[in-house]
């Protein structure tokens, strides 16, 4: 009997299952998270995301180690979530400025935006998927370490007292981590939507955040125009929000300490909406590269 082999089965029509067009958002979100984190990319493209994640998690791991090693579960007073955010500000700042722009700048520069908009995605669902991807990755950094600490300290018997307090602490961590992640993601997308060059977006975000900090603090304390001007400080605002969520108003003598809690919340929410609407406005007007 001779052996028969098929060398070319030709083009086959596809008659299998097709997901609903809405599923495209989830696919783009996962794909963007992979790209932002350097997955399936070269070694050098993994360095910065891995570094920022390490900076975010290593303090938590060290604290857990200390709590485990020291007698009576001593945490050296570092169980406070707002203080932990102080540790990882640099990581969040680096991620927002240097990693997140990869999510949208490259698509416009490489022409992928044209392919995306020729798929079941539209401009709004495209931006929503990108936003969700950045929030998810930032959320790993803003939620992961505090949750890790909460669980570890609970096992070390230095966590919140009782189930109710524990759940309240969990709720505060979720609210604070989500607020910070959403704020940085909205800001990053808005500034990145202004250019197709990732490096230019990074510089813009970096300089913009530092400038906002200088302007906010300068106007409120230097020029003594009033504490409310400290709300211009876009680096301090999310961390002041975290402090207020945890009922702490004192952040190392920052000018934002004197600002009302509702003003901080409203400014943060307002800026998130403003950044998001700006990004949407930009993308409604961008001509697709064909």
């Amino acid at each position: 009997m001779t052996e028969a082999r098929i060398h070319d089965r030709g083009y086959m029509a596809y008659s299998g299952h097709r997901h609903h067009p809405r599923r495209a958002m989830l696919n783009l979100m996962v794909h963007t998270m992979q790209r932002v984190l350097g997955i399936k990319r070269t070694f050098w493209q993994k360095v910065l995301p891995v570094f920022t994640l390490a900076v975010a998690f290593i303090p938590a791991i060290v604290l857990i180690g200390i709590a485990a090693a020291l007698p009576h579960g001593d945490t050296l007073g570092m169980e406070s979530t707002p203080e932990y955010y102080g540790f990882i500000t640099g990581a969040l700042f680096l991620f927002t400025a240097f990693v997140a722009p990869e999510a949208i700048c490259t698509d416009r520069r490489s022409g992928m935006l044209g392919l995306y908009l020729a798929s079941p995605l539209n401009r709004d669902t495209y931006i929503a998927a990108k936003f969700a991807a950045i929030v998810a990755v930032l959320g790993v950094m803003t939620l992961g370490p505090p949750l890790l600490l909460l669980i570890a300290f609970t096992f070390a018997d230095v966590g919140p007292d009782g189930a109710v307090e524990w759940l309240k602490e969990l709720g505060r961590i979720l609210a604070a981590g989500t607020a910070v992640a959403v704020f940085w993601a909205a800001l990053s997308l808005a500034l990145s939507s202004l250019t197709t060059r990732r490096s230019l977006a990074s510089v813009g975000i970096f300089v913009g955040l530092l400038a906002s900090s200088a302007v906010g603090d300068g106007l409120s304390t230097g020029a003594e125009l009033g504490d409310s001007f400290a709300l211009f400080n876009l680096i301090g605002l999310p961390f002041a929000t975290v402090a207020r969520i945890f009922g702490e108003a004192d952040l190392d003598g920052a000018p934002l300490n004197a600002v009302d809690t509702w003003a901080i919340y409203l400014t943060l929410i307002g800026l998130i909406f403003a950044f998001s609407l700006f990004t949407r406005w930009r993308y409604q007007r961008i001509e697709v590269h064909r």
Binding site: Y14, K40, Q45, N122
Partner: protein, 310 residues
């Protein structure tokens, strides 16, 4: 059966008075056309609205007026659902350079609704079909222009679209790769049974691969027919003599015909091919002229294009 596989021969695209403006710039000014199943060339000089029309077909932009149905639905109303059935290969050559061809094609197939496993299999198949089977795990940035064009076709094919939109698919290719690409497009249309709308400004490639042609000029469709109809729609007869055809022309004019002389070639306008051919044959015999060629004048796509563009 139409190429999409359903037993209908309804147009895949129906445009009626479609208008599109960018500010004061009226790009499409009431475009009317029916694009039938098969391979259709969308011809027009640069700036005549081809890319704008493709953008409207994809539902990327709202139109300012008229109605447009693609595969029976309005792209403006059902954009995401429609686009899941369309494949699109853009004109530009830029694709993310650090992504492997197989990953890009799989990703686009997943966006069009295919589950991950099916998308992976079909991405591999599509890359084999376009001749990149061995190269499918190479980063796109390391590929030649011709190979990138093939990747673009593969990503447009992998999810088995009902309609494939190709925007200047041979742009930037050398003659050998251009020839390969046109062969591939012809194969996709004929063997894969996928409807294709091929946007181009090159008459030769449309003439080579397309079944039908729509010509855009000044924002409207000035010509729409099958290529066969375009070529056979002659209204003149060419007569070539071995001497000056002046005497024959005079004899024809005396019998009510319209003529034009170009060297030894006489063009005779007619209303009936057979009777005019008989008349010329008889006159040539009566005048004792040497006849080299007598045939209905074949209209080329170039003739149609020039006429439609004026």
């Amino acid at each position: 059966m139409n190429p999409a596989g359903s037993p209908v021969t309804a147009p895949v695209i129906v445009a009626r008075e479609v208008q599109k403006s960018y500010g004061a710039n009226h790009v499409l000014k009431g475009l009317n056309c029916d694009i039938m199943p098969g391979i259709t060339g969308l011809l027009g000089a640069n700036g005549t609205g081809k890319s704008t029309f493709i953008g409207l077909i994809l539902g990327l932009r709202p139109r300012n007026g008229g109605t447009l149905k693609v595969l029976g639905v309005d792209p403006q109303q059902s954009g995401p659902e429609l686009r899941s059935l369309l494949g699109y290969a853009p004109e530009h050559h830029d694709l993310p350079g650090d992504v492997q061809a197989a990953d890009l094609v799989r990703h686009i197939a997943q966006l069009h609704g295919l589950p991950r496993r099916a998308a992976t299999e079909r991405a591999s198949d599509a890359l084999w079909q376009v001749g990149l089977g061995e190269e499918r795990f190479r980063p796109i940035g390391t590929m030649s222009t011709g190979q990138r064009q093939r990747v673009k076709i593969a990503q447009a094919l992998a999810h088995d679209p009902h309609l494939l939109l190709l925007d200047e698919p041979t742009d930037g290719l050398d003659p050998v790769h251009r020839d390969d690409m046109l062969t591939l497009i012809k194969r996709v249309g004929s063997e894969f049974n996928i409807n294709i709308l091929l946007s181009s400004h090159l008459l030769e490639e449309v003439e080579r691969v397309c079944d039908s042609v729509v010509i855009l000029a000044n924002g409207v469709a000035t010509h729409s027919s099958t290529l066969q109809e375009s070529r056979s729609s002659t209204a003149a007869i060419t007569v070539e003599l071995d001497s000056n055809p002046q005497r024959l022309a005079e004899a024809l004019v005396a019998r009510g015909a319209q003529t034009a002389i170009d060297g030894h070639i006489l063009t005779v306008a007619h209303s009936s091919t057979d009777s005019t051919l008989n008349l010329i044959r008889d006159l040539v015999a009566d005048l004792d002229l040497g006849l080299r060629r007598l045939e209905p004048r074949r209209t080329t796509l170039e003739d149609v294009f020039i006429e439609a563009s004026q």
